[in-house]
Every structure is written in C-alpha cells, then in structure tokens.
Symmetry: C2
Subunit: 409 residues, 2 copies
C-alpha cells in the first residue's frame, strides 16, 4: 500500500506532463476519473466564452459571421482536431453531434458499395452507433454484429462497410485500426471509425491507417464542454467523390448565392449541414489550446503507466471484494480507461462519488475510470483505488441513497 | 419628414412594449434591423452562460447532467418555445439545427404517405429547406416547387407532403398557415411548417391550425445566440405513430440501459438524436426569459405598425432612387420584416452598416430589415429610412470597400 503511494509520488515527481494540470480548473477535493464522459474545464475557457457572448455576439451581432470568423470555425476547429487524430488539414470538420455525423458518413459509405449493403460492427459498440446504423440501413440493408475479437474473421466480401468504435466504451478494449482497416480495404470494404474515446486520448493515425471515414466527440478527451459539437473525417481522396444526404445550406458550394438547387461544396465542407452552435464550438476551440506543445506520445505513455498502476492499486485495495478487471491487462490493448465488473456497481460508484471520486457506471455492472494524463496525477488513481476498497470493505454502497437510480447514470 | 419623426416619437411614447428594450444589450449608436438573422443579446444571458461554464461544467462536471438538469433541457426549452408557437406542452423539443430537424420530420412525413412521395413547396422557400428535401427524397420521390401564390392550387391528391416556410425569407410574404393546412389535410397531405421567421415574431397557432410537423430556429426572433439549436414540433396525436430515421441514443426509450436494439422513446423525445450542445442551449433557454409577461398580440401589433411606418418613411426619403417595395404593403400578409428591391443592394447595405444601420442583403438585389418589437423603437425605422435615402442620394455605396463581397453576405 505504502509502496504504491511511494511509486505514485515518484512518478508524479518525474511526470513530463505534470505542469499541464494547471491548465485546468479542478474542483477542490475531487478526484475526477470521468474525463472520458465529460472532460474538465480548461482554465482559460470561461474568459473566451464570455468574450464570445458579450463582445462577439453582443457587440458584433450579425457581423460576427465575418468579423469573428464564425463561418469558418467548423473548418478551423476541424483542422486543430486533425492534428490530434493524424489527419491532413482540410480533412476534418467540426459539426453536429457524433450521432448525426455517423449517419452522414454511413450514408456516404453505403453509397460507395451499392451491392453490399451490409454493415459489420461489434456487439459491444456504443449503442448510438448501432442505432444510427439500424435507422439508416432501413429494410434494404443489414447490420451484422459479432464479438469484438471476431471482427477480423467476419470481414467477408459481402460486407460493404466496417463501422467500429476504436475503443470499447465499457471495457476500454482497443481495436487494431491499422490492421483492420488494411484487411477491410483489401476486400473493398469501406471503413468508418468512431473516435469518441480516441481523440485526445492517445495518438490516432487516420491517414496512416488509410481509414475512409471517422467521427468523434468534442466533450470527452477534447474537453469541449457538455455536448460540445462532434467532428467528422473523410479521407482526402474520397472527399469529392462522396456525398452527404443531409444536404443543408452550409454544405452547398455557394451558400450565400441562395441557389434553389443543391450543389455540394468541394472537399469536407459538403458534410456541413445547418448553422452550427457557435458558443459551444468556441468553447471547444478554446479548449483545444491545452494541447499546445503537448506530445501525444507522452500522453499515451502516461495513460498506460497510470492504468497499470491503477490496476495494481485496485488489486491491492479491493480485489478481495469481488471486483474483476474488465479491461485488457496489457496496456497496449487498452484505450485510456480502466474498468471493472463490480457487483452493485451503480451503488458502489455513487458511494465513490459521495467520497469525491468520480468515475462512471455502465450497465450492467461496469465501473469505469477515464485516464486523462493532462490533468490527473498518479496519486489520484492510487487514492481512488483506496476509496473503492474502503467502500467495498465497509459496504458503504448499501444505502438507499446510493442505490436509487438517477435519470442519467 | 418631420411629421414622420413626430409620429414615431408619439408611438414610442405610448408603446406598451417600450420597457422590453431594457432587457437587451444594444450596442451604442447602432440601429439593428437584422434580428431576423441574429437576435440581439439579452442582458442577463452573459451571466447565465458564465454560470453554466464555470459552475455547471467546471464544478459539477459530469454530475451536471442530473444536478443541472441538462438531460431534460431539450424538453424544457421545447416547452417554453411551445408557448410561443401555440403548441401543447410536450410537443416541441429543442435539438440539432433547423436543417437536421427538417430532415427528420420530412422522413417521418414521407413514411406516412408511402404511395405519394411528392413534396410540394414554393420556389422562394429558403434554400436549405429545398436542399434537405432534395437530399432526403433521393431518386424515389419528387420535389415540386411552384410560386408562392400558386401553392393552394397545386395541392392535388398525388402530393404527399406540403413543406413550407411560413414567411418568405426575402419578401417577408406570409403563407396562410391555417387555410393551407386545412386544405392539405382534406386531401390527406401531411404538412410541415418551417417557422424560422415566425417563432417569436408573431403569434403562431400550430395546434389550432392542425399542422402535423414544424421546425424552427433559435437564433432569430428567439435571440438564442449565433447558431443556437433549432426546434421541432410533432402534432401530439402523431407522436407515437411516426419515427425518425436519425435514431440516436437520446431518442431511445431508455438511453442509459444501453440496449443494442433501438426502441423509440415515447412522444417527442424520439426526435432527439445525439448529445445536445448544452452551452448554446443554455444561452437560448436564458434568452427565452425576455418573453416573460409579453403578449404576442402586442408584439404583432407593434410589428405591423412599425412596418407600415418604415414603408412610409422609405417612400418619403428614398423612393426617388429606384428602390421598390418587395414586401406586401398589407401588414396582414407580411411576417415581421420589410424588404425592398434595391439596385446595388449589397453595396447599399454595406454603406448603411458603415453608418450604423444594420439590415440584411439577399441575392440578387434585396435589402431586408427585420422588425423586432421587443428592442426596437419606432424612431429607429424612421432614422434607418433617412440613412438609406442619404446613401442613395449621395451614392455613398459606390465605393470599392462597400462593393467587395464578404464571405457571408
């Protein structure tokens, strides 16, 4: 126990990312291991949003579309995200929600393979991805789901689209994007990667992998604030050959010509639809400043070491109470989270939150903890494991106030 | 000329809405007649947004979804908008952009009339509405457009969906929602109304008209800020019989059960998709406070009188310079804007903006002015007409700096 705390202190003392923590507002007394649900507020964001509201909107009014550059914000923010996901400039646009973006790229992908209206995914994919596929395929197509480990074997030549979330939202298990994309490509299968738990969590290499499409989330590891707009990637060589069926005016080649016929814009802009939520997007844009000067390899290294330490700490403090690791033990196979199966997991997590340690719960019995190297200390995960152990030992979770389900779990 | 100024002063002195102006931040020295593009900042919004950022996001973090009620915000804001558009509680949800919402209700409407995949609209509809229909209809259906005045005659029994924007974005001409909806209904035609220039501009009576679907915009007369989320209405009796094809997790009956199969939520919630942009939605929610205690009949009466005065003033100051009224002279046939055809309209509007009078320009030659009775004075429109007259008289607009087109016009 003391060994682990000592180890954590040592690691914190030599952490090349230690100073990044100051870029964030961390509520007093809280250990926040839920940055994979909603990232922490970067310290400079309130001022930037306040300026956008009072000066940008309040004083510039409609002139803000030109003077503040709002019209190009989806592209500018997209380019900043591109750098984090290994994509070229001009291949990412920030727009809509992840779900709506997935619908757009899925339609575009399905149109590339008219004779192969089969979408392959894994059974553990985040439900919204499966739902979107169900809604978009309609009666003409098929959503085929297999277990995470069976994806490679299920890549057959009747499959048209491979649609995967790189990191499993419960277990944190990682698909091998480079390998699966290469295998898919060899069979003429179009690939769509959901980077919800990847962007900002570790280096992503969309270009290098040759992925066709990707979508992702602005409010998790990108710290863009609650419900921050999502993003969407289209491989550059595809951009002018594919179309969105959500043909809104800001995806038009000349939105302000007010032409009655839709003509898609060149490049990634054709995947824009309506007027974007500027205040939320400005918060995300500002939040991306925290990545200035950050090496994503350092982020990945710290995330892996931190996950290993967390696992060791939970095994020290809590293993005798029936929790079992739900994430890969090998950090190379994980994203940036660690999860356990835990009996009465919902109540256990509520009791942890009551003690100031915030993680997440996912049905049926998963407690999960996001590792966000920019603002977490190694000491945080050891302390969190200790709190978990105490709650399980003392059965603190067995109180009605912790068992009563809230609207959002 | 003096008569008009005197009349304006008198009207301002007896304006029952005069005190509402204090609810807004009006930039010094500006006459803002573009609230139909982007509404003015309500004075209390900066504080509410700052609180949402620093306390809601910054301190509550993920707990905000329950503690701050973010999860129900789309319904709460929807209910507040419902009151302004004559709709029942539970029939409006605030979500996505107007364009994405239109795609959702259009798919739902088309599914109600499988044998009649013809969408009727008018040629002057806002392009994004026509584009969305083009994208959603695909090859199986037809978008049929006729002139504004020919809509009633074009309601034939092969038409499945009537999709109209109540107020023409250029001329401000108003469709008769009650009459056209009744005619459509008699022929089994599903109706979709775009209320972009209606909600907050005058009393709308969706329930009374029997409209099936409606969509609308949060950033014009509702003053929700740049790119504020849109809204969507479904007639209560239809809600459980129609579906969205954008089947995202927040439209699921039990989003936090993480069921792999999509099951639509009861009621209007099934038209939600992904995680909404909370900061932008909180700005809109706060902005709706300006309607507290406001009688929409007063708003309509002032808007009509103000439009009539504006027309009289332009005819006094500017008529000899080739402008011609593009809006109906009869206020009953207008929305809450007045527009003129104006040679060199783009440059003329830039010259007006340079003089502190902000209106809008729309291709090819329309200058348009939004009338927002909550924060405009009668004196404003007389002053604006005088500035227009001076610019036309002095040919101030004929300078390169006014003729050079900006990115957003």
């Amino acid at each position: 126990m003391d060994d682990l705390k000592h180890l954590a202190a040592q690691r914190d003392a030599h952490d090349p990312l230690a100073s990044c923590r100051e870029r964030f507002v961390l509520p007093e007394g809280l250990i926040y291991l839920d940055g994979n649900s909603l990232g922490v507020l970067p310290a400079h964001v309130p001022e930037r949003v306040a300026d956008a509201v009072s000066r940008g909107w309040g004083q510039q009014l409609i002139r803000g579309w030109n003077a503040e550059g709002w019209i190009d914000l989806p592209r500018r923010v997209g380019d900043r995200i591109a750098r984090l996901v290994g994509a070229d400039k001009g291949s990412v646009v920030c727009t809509d929600s992840t779900s709506v973006n997935l619908a757009k790229v899925l339609q575009a992908a399905l149109a590339m393979v008219p004779e192969r209206q089969v979408v392959l995914s894994d059974t553990g994919n985040f439900p919204t991805d499966l739902y979107i596929a169900q809604g978009q395929l309609g009666q003409s197509g098929q959503l085929r789901t297999v277990a995470h480990e069976d994806i490679a074997g299920a890549l057959t030549d009747d499959v048209g689209v491979l649609m995967l979330t790189e990191i499993d939202y419960r277990s944190g298990r990682r698909h091998d994007m480079a390998d699966l994309t290469a295998r898919a490509r060899a069979l003429g299968i179009v690939t769509i990667w959901d980077l919800a738990h990847s962007a900002g969590a570790f280096p992503v290499e969309l270009r290098q992998a040759g992925a066709d499409f990707a979508v992702g989330c602005g409010y998790k590891y990108l710290n863009g604030g609650p419900g921050a707009p999502g993003f969407l990637y289209v491989r550059p060589a595809l951009q002018d050959r594919v179309n969105s069926t959500l043909t809104g005016w800001l995806g038009h080649a000349a939105p302000f010509a007010f032409d009655p016929e839709y003509r898609p814009a060149a490049g990634i802009d054709r995947f824009r639809v309506g007027t974007p939520p500027i205040l939320s997007m400005i918060a995300l844009d500002a939040a991306l400043d925290v990545w200035d000067g950050v090496n994503l390899d350092d982020v990945r290294a710290k995330s892996c070491t931190m996950g290993d330490l967390f696992i060791a700490a939970v095994e020290t403090f809590a293993d005798q109470y029936g929790v079992s690791l739900a994430s890969p033990r090998d950090s190379a196979l994980r994203g940036s989270q660690v999860a356990w199966q835990c009996p009465n997991g919902y109540a256990v997590m509520q009791a942890m939150i009551d003690r100031g340690v915030i993680g997440g719960f996912r049905e049926p019995d998963i407690i999960r903890f996001g590792l966000t190297p920019l603002y977490l200390k190694y000491a945080d995960v050891v302390a969190a494991a200790e709190v978990l152990g105490e709650i399980l030992r003392d059965r603190t979770w067995n109180q009605p106030r912790f068992r009563a389900r809230a609207r959002v779990t």
